[in-house]
């Protein structure tokens, strides 16, 4: 890696240039499923960032000490780590803030099947990130996911009351909105590459 590969670029790249949702197609189930409310989206996003960071740490430990001997156990061990982390987060939130627990409802356990988290673990391992890089990458990726989620929720909040032909309402419209968002984010690629690279 060239010397200019700073942690800042890593963060910005994961957040904007290679946004996990709008550029890498990860985390789309919650992206299309979460209700069109910005507050819910924000809360889910933050919970996801938290799970991602813990996953990044655990998967780094796994990679460094265990998976050398059994690389084929990669997928199983990551998903077990993720499922356990989500279970743990669920129990903690239930104890610490029952109100938040109720607000998040079904979305909390669904974080386990969020491909963004497993994707994060796999990509991190593939690129050979160290512990600090892995955590920064996780925060950037999670923030990018949250950003996409919040943007989508905001737009849906606005357009929910517009009169739209019945055939396009629902997922079809959301996909096209996502497409436009994705197009906008592509613009970041050229801008930041010039600034940081």
């Amino acid at each position: 890696m060239s010397g200019e590969n700073s942690l800042i670029w890593l963060f910005v790249s994961a957040l904007l240039v290679n946004n996990f949702t709008l550029a890498q197609f990860l985390g789309l189930c919650p992206f299309f499923g979460v209700s069109g409310r910005v507050t819910t989206a924000l809360r889910l996003g933050l919970a996801t960032i938290f799970v991602m960071v813990i996953t990044a740490v655990c998967s780094w430990v796994l990679n460094t000490y265990v998976l050398h001997y059994a690389p084929y156990l990669k997928v199983i061990s990551y998903i077990v780590v993720i499922a356990s982390t989500v279970q743990f987060v669920e129990m903690s939130i239930k104890k610490l803030s029952p109100a938040l627990f109720r607000a998040l409802g079904i979305f909390l356990p669904l974080i386990t099947t969020n491909c963004a988290i497993l994707g994060l673990a796999l990509f991190s391992a593939g690129k050979g990130y160290g512990l600090l890089e892995g955590v920064v990458y996780a925060i950037g990726a999670g923030a990018g996911f949250t950003l996409a989620l919040v943007l989508m929720a905001g737009i849906r909040q606005e357009t929910d009351l517009n009169s739209v032909p019945a055939v396009i309402k629902g997922t079809a419209m959301n996909l096209i909105i996502a497409g436009v968002l994705s197009l906008a984010f592509m613009g970041f690629a050229g801008l930041f590459a010039k600034v940081f690279a």
């Binding site: 590969n5 690389p71 156990l73």
Partner: protein, 227 residues
């Protein structure tokens, strides 16, 4: 507790049963995976080696070549044992064992960190790269293919590694160590140059001096593992 709750509790399986079930399933999975892994590893290694050789054959069109993998050990480059997955270079020889070039693999940062993985064929006597092929590209499709086409490819027919490789605007190449960018794809071009310099920094100091390369061992099966 009410009568109902007590009855319900009796129906719940014990924690022991839960743990045992999961452990059994886990063990069976592990065993199955270990078996499949052992069975497929030789095929996968052969695929990886063939893939690299195919690219080198493309670069040295018209010549029959053979390759073997060298890895660093004790300050020298030695022939790797078959199945060795540690990072190394691919030494290229003519059909009668004369050393020809080295296949150097490197990654470069473009749009995506680690956006491109490239193979450079390097001639150590003339100290130039004689060819480049993309092995993996997570760059935007379309620009990725331009990497493999003229006029960008012509940069790598005699790219000097004597100095650090530098990217210049399209059409402005004036020195042997400069690379003309793909017009309209500066970032991807920068990734390629990044990869070239990474490879230059990492492997050039370690390559055997011309004349003291390890001889080609017919029995050694070159195989490339995880980098």
């Amino acid at each position: 507790m009410s009568l109902e709750e007590t009855l319900d509790k009796k129906k719940e399986p014990s924690s022991f049963r839960l743990v045992i079930t999961l452990t059994l399933i886990g063990l069976c999975s592990g065993a199955a995976l270990a078996a499949v892994y052992v069975k497929t590893k030789p095929m996968i290694d052969a695929n990886k080696a063939a893939f690299l050789e195919e690219k080198l054959v493309e670069i040295f069109k018209g010549q029959t070549i053979v390759t073997q993998k060298l890895i660093p050990a004790d300050g020298k480059m030695v022939v790797a044992q078959s199945g060795d997955g540690s990072p190394g270079v691919l030494a290229v020889y003519t059909a009668d064992g004369k050393p020809l070039a080295y296949g150097l693999i490197g990654k470069g940062q473009g749009y995506a960190a680690d956006g491109v993985e490239l193979l450079f064929a390097y001639d150590p006597i003339k100290e130039v790269v004689v060819g480049m092929r993309a092995l993996d590209s997570k760059e935007t499709p379309g620009f990725g293919t331009k990497m493999g086409e003229e006029p960008f490819q012509s940069n790598f027919k005699a790219l000097s590694f004597k100095k650090k490789v530098v990217l210049v605007d399209f059409g402005k190449k004036s020195a042997a160590h400069e690379v003309d960018a793909i017009s309209g794809a500066t970032v991807t071009s920068a990734a390629v140059v990044d990869a070239a310099n990474n490879v230059r920094d990492k492997w050039l100091p370690r390559l055997p001096k011309p004349g003291s390369e390890p001889a080609f061992q017919k029995k050694a099966i070159a195989s490339e593992g995880e980098e």
